[in-house]
């Protein structure tokens, strides 16, 4: 198999600083974990800034970033790579994780609990002191260079018996929890990201707080910071605030008619 061509995707670094406003000590913790070659687990609700944080840290640490959005059908082979037939030749194509390991990149597996269980076979040896990626089909053991870092995330709110992170996995990681920023900071973020005034941003944040009050009382999740940014973007573009909130937030968080109507009444009360 030694003569089989290996194709490893080239990974680019992030040139422009992704906007991220720290909420606590997450930046220094991440920095320390990176320097000490420890993998990181990020917990938190959807749209609270986990992915943006990883992008920012990849930029700050000057490492390429490989992001994988995990899903029900994601297998270990999808992460590691597979043989392909290209022009009558058999070639080996590295998957995103193998590419990240070879390049010494930050590999971010978003919503890891969604992936199939066999992915743990390749995650575990990378996430402990061995820091190796076994590529079984090639009979290869790729040693992660010092620059490589494994980051995974999941939303504890979505956990079920079928989709929970096992202790044998989670106890390999330095874990820190994310939540939505406090109201003042969240308004600053929304204003900075969308260009809307701080007054409108503050109203959007107040609206989000009302929807978050409904978590567990009819909603699985309230409006995330990401959705506020969407609504703010529409408002900045000239869409009336109530219509923007309905399209970007209410319709995004629920399909239930009475809940939709209630959320609409909330936004019309605030704007």
């Amino acid at each position: 198999m030694q003569d089989v061509e290996l194709i490893a995707p080239q990974l680019a670094q992030i040139d422009e600083e992704p906007y991220y406003h720290p909420v606590g000590d997450e930046m220094s913790l991440f920095d320390s974990a990176y320097r000490n070659r420890l993998p990181v687990l990020l917990k938190g609700p959807t749209g609270c800034g986990k992915t943006r944080f990883v992008e920012h840290m990849a930029w700050k640490l000057k490492r390429p970033l490989v992001t994988v959005a995990c899903h029900d059908d994601l297998t270990a082979a999808d992460l590691v790579g597979r043989y392909l037939i290209v022009g009558g030749q058999t070639v080996w194509m590295d998957g995103p994780m193998a590419a990240a390991v070879r390049a010494g990149a930050i590999c971010y597996l978003d919503e890891i609990v969604e992936a199939r269980k066999d992915t743990m076979v390749v995650i575990h040896p990378l996430a402990d002191s061995r820091r190796v990626l076994p590529i079984e089909k090639r009979g290869e053991l790729v040693q992660a260079p010092p620059g490589f870092m494994l980051v995974i995330s999941y939303n504890p709110g979505y956990q079920s018996v079928l989709k929970e992170l096992k202790q044998s996995t989670r106890q390999r990681f330095v874990a820190f929890e994310f939540d939505y920023p406090d109201a003042e900071l969240e308004a600053t973020i929304v204003s900075r990201e969308t260009g809307v005034s701080t007054e409108i941003a503050a109203k959007l944040v107040k609206f989000a707080a009302m929807t978050r009050n409904l978590k567990g009382s009819g909603l699985d999740e309230g409006a995330s910071t990401r959705l506020l940014v969407h609504a703010g973007t529409l408002i900045k573009d000239g869409i009336p605030a109530v219509a923007a909130c309905r399209a970007a937030i209410a319709q995004a968080v629920t399909d239930e008619p009475e809940m939709l109507a209630a959320i609409h009444e909330m936004s019309s009360s605030i704007f």
């Binding site: 009050n213 409904l214 009475e258 209630a262 009444e265 936004s267 009360s269």
Partner: protein, 290 residues
């Protein structure tokens, strides 16, 4: 076939349908009233008297008595609905409920209007429960009751909110009522000893009404700061009710609009407010302190 035109002809029909020899109720005046109607209305009235009398003679008699007058200011479909409701009530619950409906046709019309444009509790409760949960962050209960009031745990709304002319405005009114009740719990109305504050007045009930009106003004200001979109709706609905502002109450409102105002300021102003006639605020509801 043309409807009988003269009072004598109509009286003969009414004697046949309403059996006055047994009921001892005269039909000659009824016949004159029906005879005075235009052709189409006369035929309509006689048709319904006949049909109602086949169900029950007393019902037929009531229909004959009220319909000529009702035709002057009510459309035929509404009158039909009124009679049918009475006949349904008789079939379902007996004669007395049917006669109660027939004795007060204006009430039927009023209820019909309320149900056409009113915010019916069962229709809006799901939305309002979610709305108030979003406001409060806790699951305040919302129940149908005999008034608009709260004990701090449960918000009560009337079965139908129908003070406004349109369905949209009545929904907004119900939403404002729910918000005002939430505001009582959120902004501390019940932190005052309301009973004690009102007990020293010659008329404690009047004092409590004045205190409630003061608190409503204070809470309106709180809502304006928290929910400016809703405050705009409140101003619009207030303007629609057309009530003239009392200068004394305007002054109280200015004091209570200060962001630092608390329920203690309402208590402090009570002596002055007691002397004034309290404003009629559509979403004020009632105060029922424990």
């Amino acid at each position: 076939m043309a409807a009988p035109a003269t009072a004598q002809e109509i009286e003969l029909l009414l004697e046949q349908w309403l059996e006055p020899e047994f009921t001892r109720v005269s039909v000659d005046d009824l016949a004159k009233d029906i005879a005075a109607l235009p052709d189409g209305q006369r035929a309509f009235a006689l048709d319904w008297v006949r049909r109602a009398a086949t169900a029950n003679i007393q019902i037929g008699h009531m229909v004959a008595r009220h319909v000529p007058n009702m035709l002057g200011h009510m459309d035929e479909r509404t009158i039909e609905a009124w009679i049918l409701q009475a006949m349904d009530a008789r079939d379902r619950d007996g004669l007395k409920p049917a006669l109660d409906i027939l004795r007060d046709p204006q009430r039927f019309v009023r209820l019909g209007h309320e149900h056409a444009v009113g915010a019916v509790f069962d229709d809006i409760a799901g939305i309002m429960r979610n709305f108030v949960c979003g406001l409060s962050g806790r699951a305040l209960r919302l129940e149908q009751g005999d008034g608009v009031w709260t004990d701090g745990e449960t918000l009560h709304l009337l079965p139908v909110t129908a003070q406004m002319e349109s369905a949209a405005d009545n929904f907004q009114l119900a939403k404002i009522m729910v918000t005002m009740l939430w505001a009582q719990t959120r902004f501390g109305t019940f932190r005052a000893d309301i009973g004690a504050a009102c007990a020293g007045f010659a008329d404690p009930i009047r004092a409590q009404r004045a205190f409630h009106a003061l608190e409503t003004l204070r809470l309106e200001a709180c809502i304006e700061r928290e929910l400016p979109g809703l405050a705009r709706e409140m101003k619009r609905l207030k303007a629609a009710t057309g009530e003239a502002a009392n200068p004394a109450w305007t002054g109280f409102g200015e004091v209570l609009a200060d962001a630092s105002a608390t329920v203690n300021d309402s208590v402090r102003l009570l002596e002055l407010a007691y002397a004034e006639s309290a404003p009629d605020i559509p979403w004020q509801g009632e105060l029922r302190p424990a």
